[in-house]
Symmetry: C2
Subunit: 216 residues, 2 copies
Amino acid sequence: MTLSEENYLKAIYHISDVCEGGISTNAIAEKMNTKASSVTDMIKKLSEKGLLNYKRYKGSELTEKGKFVAANIIRKHRLWEVFLVEKLNFTWDEVHDVAEQLEHIKSEKLINQLDEFLGFPKRDPHGDPIPDKDGNVSDNADVLLVTLHENEKGIIVGVKDSSSSFLKYLDKQGIALGKKVKVIDKEPFDNSMKIRIKKEEFMISQQIANNIYIKK
Amino acid sequence: MTLSEENYLKAIYHISDVCEGGISTNAIAEKMNTKASSVTDMIKKLSEKGLLNYKRYKGSELTEKGKFVAANIIRKHRLWEVFLVEKLNFTWDEVHDVAEQLEHIKSEKLINQLDEFLGFPKRDPHGDPIPDKDGNVSDNADVLLVTLHENEKGIIVGVKDSSSSFLKYLDKQGIALGKKVKVIDKEPFDNSMKIRIKKEEFMISQQIANNIYIKK
DNA sequence: CTATTTTTTTAGACAAGACTAAAAATTAAA
DNA sequence: TTTAATTTTTAGTCTTGTCTAAAAAAATAG
Ligand SMILES: [Mn+2]
Ligand SMILES: [Mn+2]
Ligand SMILES: [Mn+2]
Ligand SMILES: [Mn+2]
């Protein structure tokens, strides 16, 4: 597995989480910040290696083997993110770029020992579940904050957008994983909502509410 | 800095530790397990980047900038080795290959936080000194065990060969960093010697004695 | 000081992974 | 159901880092 192959597998895996059926070449190109022609070359190679199924003009789909490899890279990514936050005092908006590098380090022992060292964490700093050794991910029944109705309550358990700017906004507003949130008011016009966290009430836009996961 | 450039710099830096003056193309090729023609290409590139001085047929020498970059890679390599042994229960013969990968991770913050997390260690698991942020290495006045005479004593502080097979041999013989050693007898014929560690006496060959550093 | 051996560099080729431009297949519109 | 727009693939080029084979320079020997 080259670095590039691994990044493609990961991208396709993540797109599959959202979209049904075969993944389009263009969708991969967009996620990978590359051109469709480059994607075509790569999916041919991955197909020959048995990591995805592909027919010309019909899109791609990961095989079981491909899913396993991808889940393992994501496992490494998220464990390293935990390490950076828990042990090296990184903030949750600083970890992603470094984890993008660390996820490609090849050593079974390293990642399993790291897992143990961190106390077998279930989620990364952004609330995303950490796959186990066998590539199984605990499928969460969490829901986006934007779907809650007036007077509904829940606990913040994750973020969909892990960009540094979004995470910094959350920090500033005092929005963090584990906090209880209640929807005070919803504005139908622009889907903004007033929420309460720890007795403080404030407005958030739909865009914000659309990127926060809640456990009811 | 690409991965390959970094590995060349590191190799040249290590050869410079042993050899005086300009480093020959062949010496680099041997250390890098590559061909001289490939080396010529690379040193041209590194030369253009101001990382080493090079004139055709005259060999190469790292610039200050080149030395700084190389020392920083070695700093990362050795800090990661400490991490693997101290925190993740690796043995000293298992760490090198993983550190070869980890040394290329790019993040100032990562390596400085790691340094702090480990308690600012001075040496790696093989007794090699860890360069500081500015690329300074504490030059040790240590001496190879093979140079000791009969009845001389010292403390084992490092190994020259860090190969897994050598380190496993040392483990088996009970030879470890920090132990006191006394030369009981030297055989002029083959330079083997009888040594005492913790009241136990045994023979070691010149090859072994040539790869163990002693502080007198 | 010339001849031979060794070292180093050049020339040309290759694989991986990217890109551009153009062709082919598919999908959407009229 | 033809035509137009979009998506996807092919063809050909480029860069990085590697290789082999051959040429050039330097070192060694006689
Ligand atoms: Mn991430
Ligand atoms: Mn994450
Ligand atoms: Mn090492
Ligand atoms: Mn070491």
